[in-house]
């Protein structure tokens, strides 16, 4: 039991450090060029934001279509904190998350009564309202023109080093987000959250305070999306309201569904895949979004559960099997959420 715990922690920490060192080194020596480095960084931001949505939609079962709204609150707050109040970057990002979380609570309460499509519509509406708000709060947000000249994570003379530092920031936040969501979900509060998705009435009758966990989920989700937004603003160097409209919200939904609702690893893989596919499609110029639309339709029809359904890819499970010499590679997808712990 205790040995397993440490084993798990070491494997996860080790794996993330190894992956980081490899990716950062490859960027530094130029094997991963600047362009691909940028894409990797962007993927990391998508991981943070998409996981935040997966918490609400995949695990809590509440269809939300306004995640970019939370992102924009975080992004603007972070940028304003840095530019106008000279708050240190890390603190600014966390403040961005907190302000977004406040919006999460504000939005969470009225939507408690709403279910399914109605909730989806309400969150969509909130996303749009936030966008209109950003346009109209001109003195603070720069209105439709937005904010320009958000300082980068670092300004050394060395562009490559700057890029690697940018990547590092995002990487650390992505890993922390993954750990938060995965540790939460594989716990008793996490199971309470999932029970809401499975059957709200039964969960209520089993002593689960539905309202509390919905608000909790909304708030944490908004916080993470806000953090993702803060990173995004610094990554881009500028902000304007069109970056956070309906389409960006939908892109996040698409990532989560493609990865599999309720699958953390699925979301991670889909975030990276989505970023790259969007880029690859650029060679088709104007046809890009046509192909993208077509792909969405085909995937939904022929691959309705996304990449992983609600299952998880598991490294430590895989390694454990490897060490025990159980030669059964196709079973590295653990049977379902939560099957890994308590053993």
């Amino acid at each position: 039991m205790k040995k397993n715990r440490i084993f798990n922690a070491v494997v996860i920490l080790g794996a993330s450090v190894v992956v980081f060192v490899i990716l950062a080194a490859l960027q530094y020596i130029g094997v991963i060029d600047e362009y691909n480095g940028q894409l990797l960084t962007l993927s990391g931001i998508y991981i943070v934001v998409a996981l935040s949505l997966n918490l609400i939609t995949g695990f809590t079962g509440q269809l939300a279509l306004g995640q970019a709204g939370f992102m924009s609150v975080g992004a603007y707050t972070t940028a304003i904190a840095i530019m106008k109040f000279h708050v240190p970057m890390l603190l600014a990002i966390l403040i961005g998350g907190l302000v977004a979380a406040v919006f999460g609570i504000i939005i969470g309460f009225p939507t408690l009564r709403l279910r399914g499509d109605y909730l989806a519509i309400a969150t969509l509406g909130f996303g749009e309202i936030i966008r209109v708000l950003m346009i109209n709060l001109g003195s603070l947000t720069g209105g439709a023109a937005g904010l320009k000249g958000i300082p980068a994570f670092s300004e050394t003379e060395n562009f490559v080093l700057d890029a690697v530092i940018k990547f590092s920031w995002v990487y650390v936040f992505a890993v922390i987000t993954i750990v938060i969501i995965s540790n939460l979900i594989n716990s008793s509060p996490g199971r309470a959250i999932i029970s809401i998705r499975e059957d709200e009435i039964a969960a209520n009758s089993m002593g689960i305070n539905i309202a509390y966990y919905k608000i909790f989920s909304f708030t944490l989700s908004a916080f993470l999306a806000g953090v993702g937004g803060g990173l995004y603003g610094i990554y881009m160097g500028y902000l304007n309201p069109t970056m956070f409209g309906f389409m960006p919200s939908m892109n996040i939904v698409v990532i989560v569904v493609l990865g599999g609702l309720g699958s953390i690893t699925g979301t991670v893989v889909a975030s990276v895949a989505f970023t790259y596919i969007q880029e690859w499609l650029r060679v088709f110029k104007d046809l890009r979004l046509v192909i993208f639309g077509l792909a969405l339709i085909l995937v939904m029809i022929f691959w309705p559960k996304g990449l992983l359904g609600n299952k998880e890819l598991s490294i430590s499970g895989f390694l454990r099997k490897l060490f025990k010499r159980e030669n059964n590679p196709e079973r590295t997808v653990s049977q379902q959420n939560g099957s890994r712990e308590g053993k």
């Binding site: 039991m1 715990r5 922690a9 750990v179 938060i180 540790n183 939460l184 716990s187 008793s188 509060p189 996490g190 199971r191 309470a192 999932i194 029970s195 499975e198 059957d199 009435i201 039964a202 969960a203 209520n204 009758s205 089993m206 002593g207 689960i208 305070n209 539905i210 909790f216 609600n310 049977q335 379902q336 959420n337 939560g338 099957s339 712990e341 308590g342």
Partner: protein, 265 residues
């Protein structure tokens, strides 16, 4: 002091009087049957007792602690609050978390007694591991009683029907109730399974110091194990008494079998 006292509760859906002036008093340790034809309002009574619906009028008192005089009205409380006070239920149309494992189904019911919070979960503190161990152990223990311990890692939806019903009972027990409400627990089981289940219900009643209110369709079964029976028809109590009394009651016979019928139980 009674464990539960429903005083004159009624509920109206639109124009339909689903339950009218229903009275019920359950003493500690009783096993009472609630019977009646389809649509009589039995499940609706359960829904009122558990806070799923609010009665249009009337009051429900529940003795929530070990102190015999500590009763309070549970009308207006949310289902989860009532469950936390000590009333657990099963559902007639099985409502398991069907895409989750058997173990998770039970662990969810144990959740509100778990002593660590989300933050401790994220940081994987020792409280987390201690409680997770306790919860898993407790869940397995309960599953063993119903002989479905070895299926703990299967998805609930993959269990045979009878075992799904058992899992519903285990899940309700996991909330550590004083009063257990079972809505047609033997529906869909064959006679042998039904017999076994009834023995099991008696067993858990004694083992866990429960008071049980049981809805059943199969008359023979209720007659076999219940000490007292309440009969509903069209939302009204038409008879109440021991199985022997109920069996002879002409109103009950009429409600169940039409004129001239007789029970062969």
């Amino acid at each position: 002091m009674a464990v539960l006292e429903a005083q004159n509760i009624s509920i109206v859906f639109g124009g339909l009087k689903a339950v009218t002036n229903f009275d019920l008093k359950l003493e500690k340790g009783e096993l009472v049957g609630l019977i009646g034809p389809n649509g009589a309002g039995k499940t609706t009574v359960f829904n009122m007792l558990t806070g799923v619906y609010n009665p249009t009028s009337g009051d429900i008192l529940f003795n929530y602690s070990s102190d015999d005089n500590a009763s309070k009205s549970i009308v207006g409380l949310k289902p989860y609050q009532i469950t936390q006070l000590g009333i657990a239920r099963t559902f007639q149309n099985i409502r398991l978390f069907k895409d989750l494992t058997v173990l998770d189904n039970v662990r969810i019911a144990l959740h509100f007694n778990v002593k660590y919070n989300a933050l401790q979960a994220v940081f994987r503190t020792s409280a987390f591991y201690r409680e997770e161990g306790r919860v898993a152990g407790k869940a397995k223990e309960l599953l063993e009683i119903f002989h479905i311990g070895e299926k703990q890692n299967e998805l609930a939806k993959n269990l045979p029907y009878g075992e799904q019903r058992k899992l519903e009972i285990v899940r309700a027990l996991a909330t550590n109730p004083k009063l257990l409400l079972l809505d047609e627990p033997a529906a869909g089981m064959n006679p042998q399974e039904t017999q076994d289940l009834m023995k099991l219900i008696k067993f858990i009643k004694d083992q866990f110091n429960l008071t049980i209110l049981l809805i059943e369709h199969d008359m023979s079964l209720v007659m076999g194990i219940c000490e007292r029976i309440v009969v509903l028809d069209y939302g009204q109590t038409i008879a109440a008494g021991t199985p022997a009394e109920i069996r002879k009651d002409p109103k009950v016979i009429k409600a169940y079998l039409g004129e001239g019928g007789e029970f062969d139980a």
